[in-house]
Symmetry: C2
Subunit: 352 residues, 2 copies
């Protein structure tokens, strides 16, 4: 199976011209220059990404990718594997956190089922692109075959394409997969050359013994994997279906000039893969929040990212990005609708 | 002039029963317990404050109190004093940050003019309760007379009463007043017994020399004021019309069971006054953001407050609280609309 074009080709860059115009505008709006803090840079960034003097993030598309993990056989999660399939039904029924947020924020929500151990019925709003019931156990063997990686990347790229076709101006990717903090930690360790103790955390709620065991599992997987830091090899060896799809979606969005609001630990691990493969993709990423999962810090640092929120969230599904979305809307509204000193007849700084 | 009842009488407390029910509900929603981070405690707090099993913050009322400061004669601000009156017109015309945010967020906005040196014409949405063109210069004399303090507190209490009459479930107070970070720093120093160097900052954009001069001005005012830490004395001696009104509004809201989303440095200084006078008012305060103004940290610490956002904002007007409002809405929506494990047929933690 072929890899998507967005994996193979560098993405376009943002518009420096529009960013420069936006930076000038921020200096003349009726507020002390700099007083909107991070919201100012956010507006400038979005002006560059959207190539517009009146940046917007709407309409927003949210896509949750779900898949099961073979490494669950090692006992790495506080929740049973059946939850992945059960949560797909919960997304569709509107009862999950991301469903509630999508509805409240007026964003369209898609759920992509990439394969679960539990059975998933036909459900409205769920796209079935089943690769296998689960990845293989990464401790024993590569988690995904080359064809499976290509299928997952393609699923992500297609989600980006659907978003572009729907005219969406912002993409929020989410994850569902019991065991996926184990996979994300292993991926990040392999890509960054960091030890598992630094990146493995409690996930959905392991106690200290559980975290120690999980770190040993990641260590075994890394020992089997070796030192290969090629993005595709790492993804196949240690990835999950949903993490590969998220990496594909990020590159697919960058290729199509759609900014991505990055959620927590899982999506950031996928972003690390995407940026490793195409460094230019970094420009298209805005980081929503710092997860309570301890490994997130190292991944954010590697991506030179300062997230907007730090609320101790660690839910996944894209929920942290959804909660941060109104900050992007605020940055755009303030940038587009505030009066300038000249227009409002307000005096500027004394002696200027 | 009489002080408002809310200044004289302790406010009611939140409903412990509703908070306890909300805390239990957070444990059974379809997410790992604790994984929504601060949003969980926020929903529990709002359930207690609203006395409801389905907490809401809507409708939201925003009120900006504006007034001029005699201490501007000492050259403590980067902007000319005319800006206070000019910005009142900008609020009414919709061009200020808080105007843009109120519109975007569907909140009603009132502006209360307590007195400015510049002329303010009749304007839609502006309530004129002029006390004087300006406070007195706090370096030389108490900034407000006892009658002026009572008038400002009453103006704030009346804003709370209008909010209650309109059925509002959340109050956001904002400030406009060139020179008011000087007054707020002086107030906080007097109430907390801290030195000016700790609390004085650049405000709208002073350079280092300007900050040093401003600290000396505050030191002079504190030397004149002496060691009296009584809330009313401190407010009269070092306050501004808008800061006193904000303190009155906070106590007025607490008295009427309306939660207050506290903005940055100025509103927090007003909150410090309010809580000093009526410690029970603290229960009604939710802190929106950590201001870039360096003195905010000490005030937040004294109020035992952990704000939701830390975006480097320092604009005032209530803008930081407005930007944080969607987080409260998210907390309520998730609490009220997420499915429970039982309802959604999702398995809980393994072995539980």
């Amino acid at each position: 199976m072929a890899l998507p074009q967005s994996w193979l080709t560098p993405p376009p860059g943002p518009s420096g011209k529009h960013a420069a115009i936006a930076a000038e505008r921020q200096q003349v709006l009726t507020k002390p220059p700099g007083s909107l803090g991070q919201l100012e840079q956010l507006a400038i960034t979005l002006a560059g990404l959207t190539g517009s003097n009146a940046p917007t993030v709407d309409p927003v598309r949210m896509v949750v990718f779900a898949g099961d993990h073979g490494v669950c056989a090692e006992g790495v999660s506080a929740f049973p594997q059946a939850v992945t399939a059960q949560m797909i039904a919960n997304f569709a029924a509107g009862g999950a956190a991301i469903s509630v947020m999508a509805k409240q924020l007026g964003a369209s929500l898609e759920v992509v089922n990439l394969g679960t151990v539990g059975e998933v019925p036909e459900l409205d709003g769920v796209i079935h692109q089943v690769i296998a019931p689960s990845t293989a156990n990464m401790v024993e063997t590569p988690a995904l075959s080359p064809d499976q990686v290509a299928a997952a990347l393609t699923s992500g790229d297609q989600a980006a394409e659907r978003s572009a076709n729907a005219g969406c101006r912002l993409f929020i990717g989410g994850d569902m997969g019991i065991g996926n903090t184990t996979s994300a930690a292993a991926l990040a360790c392999a890509l960054l050359g960091l030890p598992p103790e630094r990146l493995v955390g409690p996930g959905t709620g392991l106690n200290r013994e559980g975290v120690t065991h999980k770190a040993r599992v990641v260590e075994k997987a890394l020992a089997r994997h070796g030192n290969d830091r090629d993005a595709l090899s790492v993804l196949a060896s240690l990835g999950g279906f949903e993490i590969a799809a998220l990496a594909g979606a990020i590159l697919g969005c960058a290729a199509r000039r759609i900014p991505v609001l990055v959620d927590g630990f899982i999506v950031s691990a996928a972003a690390l893969v995407a940026v490793q493969r195409q460094p230019g993709a970094r420009d298209w990423l805005i980081f929503a929040h710092r997860s309570a999962e301890p490994g997130h810090d190292a991944v954010l640092e590697a991506l030179d990212a300062t997230p907007l929120l730090d609320l101790g969230m660690r839910l996944g599904e894209g929920s942290g990005a959804a909660v941060a979305l109104p900050l992007l809307r605020a940055a755009c509204a303030l940038h587009n609708h505030m009066a300038s000193f000249a227009d409002a007849g307000v005096s500027g700084k004394s002696g200027e």
